[in-house]
């Protein structure tokens, strides 16, 4: 009963947020948190299926550039660009996964790292794709004749994506699919009971990169520009850190928490000194790994247990 009430309260809060927070700057931060939340939810999904990706920013780029090229060179609506961005990211993920998903552990992580580096360099060195300066201005979404200029509209669009991905992740976590993903951790056992380990890893990877591609398809029109600098390896590392700090045990709540917290904190710190943001990321990651391995979302549970134990003593 309590949980349902809290849930409804959250939902209402999320729906009216733009009217509570009228400042464009803070809305911008929340929108960014939403984009990163989607990336993190993808990362955590890949982790659940047993792989460690350092390349999610590459798929963000694929989504962003696909939708941008379709808009600027082919005059297609950003809505189509959004769908195309997601699909192309998923397709690239499928092709890449076909070749590399059978490789495990650190090697896979390094491959995704290299993939990220390579993908970033492609638009940077191709004039048609804008080079290092990128492409702009990108036309915004329009719905019912209204152009998405007001940040409120962007907020709802991003919220819709976050809810969609969150629902998918949540469903996966509480269904047999999530259990099969988890089962791939013991590869020989899983295979012996008929679980196609590579197949499930592929599914997780494609879904995660679909998320990233969709995020890219929204990010590009939102920023009104797209440039290679936004898709560096450091972004992929940020995604990993945000997810780990938030907590990898819950496929929706953890990533959303981590992304939101770190984006907002990072922004606040950056106002004081640019070096504070990477410092924060580094410190928090190390702190979580050593002190709170299940991430921040495990904190309420731990505190509750401590209180219960104190009560018993």
């Amino acid at each position: 009963m309590k949980k349902k009430a809290a849930f409804i309260a959250c939902a209402v809060l999320l729906l009216v947020m733009p009217f509570l927070i009228r400042d464009d700057y803070y809305l911008h931060l929340i929108i960014l948190s939403g984009i990163y939340s989607v990336l993190c939810m993808g990362w955590v999904l890949i982790l659940r299926a047993g792989q460690f990706s350092l390349g999610q920013a590459a798929f963000l780029a694929i989504g962003a550039y696909t939708s941008t090229i379709l808009a600027l060179k082919f005059s297609l609506s950003p809505w189509l660009g959004l769908v195309a961005g997601g699909i192309s990211a998923a397709m690239v993920a499928f092709l890449l996964g076909w070749i590399v998903l059978r490789i495990r552990g650190l090697y896979f992580a390094v491959i995704t790292l290299a993939f990220n580096g390579a993908v970033q360099l492609i638009p940077a060195n191709v004039d048609y794709l804008g080079g290092w300066l990128g492409l702009s201005p990108i036309p915004p979404f329009t719905l019912g004749g209204i152009e998405f200029i007001d940040k409120t509209l962007w907020y709802y669009l991003v919220l819709a994506l976050v809810v969609l991905c969150g629902l998918v992740n949540w469903r996966i976590e509480h269904s047999k699919l999530g259990r099969y993903f988890k089962a791939t951790a013991n590869e020989s056992l899983a295979e012996s009971i008929g679980i196609d380990t590579v197949g499930y890893r592929m599914l997780a990877f494609v879904i995660a990169c679909l998320f990233a591609g969709l995020a890219g398809g929204i990010l590009a029109p939102y920023l009104t520009y797209v440039s290679p600098g936004d898709f560096a390896l450091s972004k992929s590392i940020q995604v990993q850190i945000q997810s780990t700090v938030g907590g990898t045990g819950a496929l929706a709540a953890g990533p959303i928490t981590g992304a939101t917290l770190l984006i907002i904190l990072g922004e606040v710190l950056r106002a004081y000194a640019k070096g504070l943001e990477p410092l924060l990321y580094g410190l928090l990651l190390l702190a979580v790994i050593f002190l709170l391995p299940d991430g921040l979302i495990s904190l309420p549970g731990i505190i509750r247990k401590k209180i219960q134990n104190k009560g018993k003593a």
Binding site: R104, G105, T244, L285, I289
Partner: protein
């Protein structure tokens, strides 16, 4: 033109070898890719700068300082971060060095500021031979790189501690039966590997300008080199670095900016087709 390209390639290649040597050693023995290796290199350069330009203490002391300081940093890292996490999950192992990487870069920016700094060139002058030019400073760098690689090779093949370290990396249990403790080897290796990064920073930093962000690219280059040469093979890393340097030199001359993508493609193709590199030994990352 071709000769100059080759010379440039060899020079660059040896830089890569120097940078990658520490990473290769640590990975070969500890099976950990220290993603903070680039920041160790950066800090080595800064220590060198501080001792040379701010302290006015001359090249040898500055170089020694960078080697020792970063070596100590490596020991602290092994003790404080790697040891407690021994054998734990992949997130722990990869995440720790990523966290350290971010932390050191941020800390460095806070301490030294984001701007570029120029380190004074202790070896001015340029050598001209047969139509090619080579700054003296780079010649010194070549000398130091070669000396370091020889020393490293000699240590691991000829000394007691080096042989013990190799034994531990191949078969921990058998080595322990002979009284070789893994913890001491891990500490030693991390110290030496980090000291190598510091040496690289002290040697190469002065060739360009230094800033807190200069660790990113060297890390990538080091990863490419050890993928090419075989993770854990010092001979392989040497060859791998030279190959990368020469290939890149030619690629840049004839292809321009897109040449940078070659390094990444090398990593991807090699890890798929021959993960042990050209000279290393393959092993599984089971979970």
């Amino acid at each position: 033109m071709i000769l100059q390209t080759v010379v440039n390639g060899i020079v660059t290649g040896l830089m890569y070898v120097l940078i990658a040597s520490g990473l290769t050693l640590v990975f070969g023995i500890l099976r950990i890719v220290n993603f903070a290796h680039g920041q160790f290199y950066m800090l080595g350069a800064f220590v060198f700068y501080v001792v040379l330009d701010l302290g006015g203490l001359g090249f040898p002391i500055a170089f020694l300082a960078s080697v020792i300081a970063i070596g100590l940093l490596g020991l602290a890292t092994e003790r404080g971060l790697f040891r407690p996490l021994e054998g734990k999950s992949l997130i722990g192992v990869i995440g720790t060095t990523l966290g350290l990487m971010m932390f050191l870069e941020g800390a460095s920016e806070l301490i030294f500021g984001p701007g570029d700094r120029n380190v004074s060139n202790v070896f001015p002058g340029v050598l001209r031979m047969g139509g090619t030019t080579l700054p003296v400073a780079r010649l010194i760098m070549i000398g130091i790189s070669a000396a370091v690689m020889f020393a490293l090779y000699w240590w691991i093949q000829r000394t007691k501690s080096g042989t013990a370290t190799r034994a531990v990396s191949q078969d921990e249990y058998a080595a322990s039966l002979m009284g070789i403790k893994k913890t001491r080897c891990s500490l030693l290796v991390m110290g030496i590997g980090s000291a190598l990064a510091g040496a690289a920073g002290g040697t190469l930093g002065p060739l360009f300008y230094i800033n807190p962000y200069m660790g990113g690219v060297p890390l990538i280059k080091a990863i490419i080199v050890i993928t090419l040469g075989g993770m854990g093979s010092i001979f392989g890393a040497t060859l791998g670095g030279l190959i990368l340097g020469i290939v890149e030199a030619f690629a840049y001359t004839y292809l321009g900016g897109i040449a940078e993508i070659i390094g990444f493609l090398i990593i991807i193709v090699l890890l798929i087709v021959r993960p042990q590199g050209l000279f290393g030994e393959a092993f599984e990352f089971g979970e």
